[in-house]
């Protein structure tokens, strides 16, 4: 399946885009997302294990990613 991964702030700058498309196996997890992201040359500018949100909630490595889910990489937050 194809999943769109949203990028923000410094991550969007690193990838030069507000999102990337990943090709994942159907029963994928956040760990799979991170593995695919890591293949991208721009990923060298990211921390080793960036935070991931699935459907606007922070996810762990084992969280499932299904077709149609909203997936995002979350740079270190700096609100306030």
């Amino acid at each position: 399946m194809s999943v769109t991964v949203l990028l923000f702030a410094s991550y969007a700058d690193a990838f030069g885009a507000p999102s990337i498309e990943l090709d994942l196996r159907p029963e994928a997890t956040v760990a799979d997302v991170l593995t695919e992201v890591a293949r991208h040359p721009a990923a060298r500018q990211l921390p080793p294990r960036p935070l991931v949100a699935v459907n606007q909630r922070y996810a762990s490595a084992t969280t499932s990613v299904r077709d149609g889910d909203e997936v995002a990489l979350i740079p270190p937050v700096a609100g306030g």
Partner: protein, 148 residues
């Protein structure tokens, strides 16, 4: 009991925020305002650009306000975070907390700003007097240009 959390692109109206939480059963109101400073870690700042994962950030602000309201019985909480380009001395975040007792009001206020900084997906890019811009990473890592 009021609990609200939201993002805005407009100037934050501190008095309106206070009015949102005020009520005759709540004798103590604490308003926290975060303000754009002219210096950050010794570098001259001319402004800050805030951006967010808007849907998630708005939801997290509401969740924090709700959790804060429930943490101490009957506290009212209103949180608003600004997005966009801010000049020096503009308010980036406003948190109003009202409670029957001041001790709890201080505790809730402090808890809210720490949670907000810990988990709400908002980012800021500082603009410096030398014309450069940089995303602020409170974890101390420089994201851009970090690769050798």
């Amino acid at each position: 009991m009021t609990t609200t959390g939201r993002l805005t692109r407009d100037t934050i109206d501190a008095s309106a925020l206070v009015r949102e939480v005020a009520g005759p059963s709540r004798g103590a109101i604490i308003l926290f305002l975060g303000v754009v400073r002219e210096l950050n870690e010794g570098r001259g700042v001319t402004g800050i650009e805030y951006s967010a994962y808007e849907g998630m950030a708005a939801m997290e602000l509401r969740v924090i306000a709700d959790e804060a309201g429930g943490r101490f019985d009957a506290s009212s909480v209103a949180i608003v975070h600004r997005l966009g380009e801010l000049s020096l001395e503009e308010v980036s975040v406003g948190i109003a907390v009202a409670h029957g007792h001041r001790g709890e009001a201080y505790e809730v206020s402090r808890w809210v700003i720490e949670e907000l900084k810990r988990r709400v997906p908002i980012w800021k890019r500082e603009h410096y007097v030398d014309g450069t811009r940089e995303w602020v990473d409170p974890t101390g890592r420089r994201t851009e240009g970090a690769t050798a």
